[in-house]
Symmetry: C2
Subunit: 414 residues, 2 copies
């Protein structure tokens, strides 16, 4: 008898998807009623009521007020219980640790920043710096009230194993980050990477409110994408989906820091853009600054002044970016591409408009007609916000409410 | 109040997924019992029983035999009712129409072939040729017994609207193919394209029995992919996902028949391979044949004889194909890549082994370690088989059993 895939989707998953819709409805509206939620989500009133009852029972929601519905039963307005606890989102990059503190409604309360020396990449040192920064937040906000901490690590991460599989810039491989953090911090910890975090933030608090078929694109030193289909984060079989930055744009082209050639990142990562610019305009003043941020700000300044060299660079950026995004559009056929992170935000419409044009001309007609390209509408740090959201999903799971709206990593099936 | 995505997943979708697993279990085993199906699918015995009861009620299944379970209640062996009716799968290409006839167990009964003149691409002519070929099968098998006909059209197709949106080689745009066919044929008709059909065939009858995270790759005149994640066919928002053949492998590279440059298809579509070979070995005997098939057979023959020119071409094919597949692996992170269609099957392991090597070296480590590259295990024409399967899904839907295991195209949400 042949093997048949075991079916992972159970009735739990449905309740889960529906609960995600209800939670998102409460996040997006000001104290909605059950009736409001039914109309916002398209779920039946009975389904919404069951989910709300469950969330009230575990103390995640409270009834904010009741109003007379004109002869019928009073309608309760619902909100998150601000006293229930806190969530921390942690964005760990090669050069910094940032911790954001949120209440249960995912309103931002505080931010802690901590520089880390990028010459020191020893796991014990890096973990120590994360612990210091998180502990500072815990001390200020009373550890016991923290319901969960979501930590984004640069590179490839296995959330279920709590392992940072591969962080190329640090030379890390299979570091048990979650276990190391839990030795020092007495709080539930969930691990993931920035691509997944940004996409979850966009799904819950950004363009995901309008479509569940979107791709978020991180543009900065590194380059990557996060894919959502029908409201579900696509993780891939080992949580590595979205490594579009290391897909090939020009076979046998420019060397990439990953060791291969012709990757998307080699052209549109900020170091790639700087190299491109340096070849065209050697020794130009835009390159005088020390950092990638200074370079992008010089380009922005140049665009404001209508300088030809800045326009040349933005033209090249859009040309490569548009073609690389068209690959995602041709393969996935999404409704929306969302540009995120600092390199995109510095340039705004200067980048967006020519990129969209190039993307449309490089995509097959049926997919080009369906897609739009926009800037993120998530405020604040989407990585920290997304990680706090994943920590909330984990917390709901621990309450016995399977909370993952995002697809879990599954065991090897082969 | 902000808009929140309407949730499309209902309890119907779950029953649907579970029914798909049970049906697939019955296809893959010889007359299994309910107990066998529960153990194969990982579903509870109660869930399996409910689904089997439903399928018995609508006459899709029958009890083949009963055996004593040793003191307990007798165990019924289940099979498809061969008398219930027939399904037709139709593969329409630029130069031919092929109709395959299947019984309800999707066993192959007969095949009808029909050449169409590739200089005549007028919709009325092409539809007329499809009707003639299907009618021949209907005449032989008594129209009334045909439960559904699945028709694969080349190009972009909108199944729900029954429209062939774009068939570049024919100059078609928005042709109402389903309506035109239904005027002539008194049977339920479902429309789709070869990428979707091949993937459904692989999910039900090929490597999908072992993993639901696979990508099928069609290699021939045209080139494309079909993506399945967690057992679900990914259609994209306008049914155009998988147009990987028109993603860019070398920006500003070789002209492609789609009018753009540097597409994957421009390098590894058979005409691209022939052009590449012609540049390296002008006037070579391999190019003496009239057709693409003759060229690939000459290459195959050359490989058998250890000829350097054939080895050169296969090396180039693998180099481009491996890099292009690595883009899919880096973006989607699948468990398995399945090479399908004639150009792959001609070369078999000669192509597979170096392609796999190149793919691994061009993929990020975590995804490279998880993926395998194999040849299809579907016998016969996967396009016709997949279309017959989609016709079965449609038939189950019409019985009131929502049958789609594949994701339906949804309305514009923006």
């Amino acid at each position: 008898m042949n093997r048949v895939d075991r079916i992972k989707r159970t009735s739990r998953d449905i309740r889960n998807t529906n609960r995600f819709a209800v939670l998102r409805g409460i996040y997006s509206a000001a104290s909605p009623t059950r009736q409001d939620l039914a109309s916002m989500t398209g779920l039946s009133f009975a389904t919404v009521s069951n989910i709300v009852t469950e969330l009230l029972r575990v103390g995640v929601l409270v009834e904010a007020s009741r109003e007379d519905s004109g002869g019928g039963r009073p309608r309760a307005r619902l909100k998150f219980d601000p006293a229930r606890g806190l969530l921390l989102g942690v964005d760990v990059a090669e050069t910094y640790v940032r911790v954001d503190v949120f209440d249960l409604a995912l309103s931002h309360l505080a931010r802690y920043d901590h520089d880390i020396t990028d010459r020191k990449s020893d796991p014990k040192y890096v973990i120590g710096e994360i612990v210091r920064c998180v502990q500072e937040a815990l001390d200020d906000y009373r550890e016991g009230r923290v319901l969960g901490v979501g930590v984004s690590m640069p590179g490839q991460v296995e959330p279920d194993a709590g392992v940072s599989v591969f962080a190329p810039n640090w030379g890390w491989s299979d570091e048990p980050v979650q276990a190391m953090l839990r030795q020092e911090l007495n709080v539930p910890i969930h691990l993931d990477n920035p691509l997944k975090a940004t996409t979850v933030a966009e799904l819950w608090f950004g363009h995901g409110r309008e479509t569940g078929d979107l791709i978020t694109v991180n543009l900065g030193t590194g380059v990557g994408a996060g894919i959502a289909i029908d409201g579900q984060l696509i993780r891939g079989v080992t949580n590595n989906a979205g490594e579009w930055g290391h897909s090939t744009l020009i076979m046998d082209g420019r060397p990439c820091r990953c060791g291969r050639r012709g990757c998307v990142e080699a052209y549109i990562g900020v170091p790639g853009l700087m190299a491109l610019f340096g070849e065209q305009y050697p020794g130009h003043a835009y390159l005088a600054g020390d950092t990638q941020l200074e370079f992008m700000q010089a380009i922005k300044h140049g665009m404001t002044n209508g300088e030809a060299e800045a326009q040349w660079l933005v033209g090249q950026f859009a040309r490569y970016l548009g073609a690389a995004l068209a690959n995602l559009v041709n393969i996935i056929n999404p409704r929306r591409i969302v540009l995120s992170s600092w390199a995109a935000m510095e340039l705004g419409d200067w980048l967006l408009v020519p990129t969209r044009e190039r993307l449309i001309s490089e995509s097959i007609s049926g997919s080009a007609a369906a897609v739009d390209v926009v800037l993120t509408s998530v405020r604040g740090n989407p990585v920290a916000l997304g990680m706090a959201t994943l920590a909330l999903e984990n917390f709901l799971e621990q309450l016995g409410l399977p909370g993952r709206a995002s697809r879990p990593v599954r065991a090897m099936s082969a």
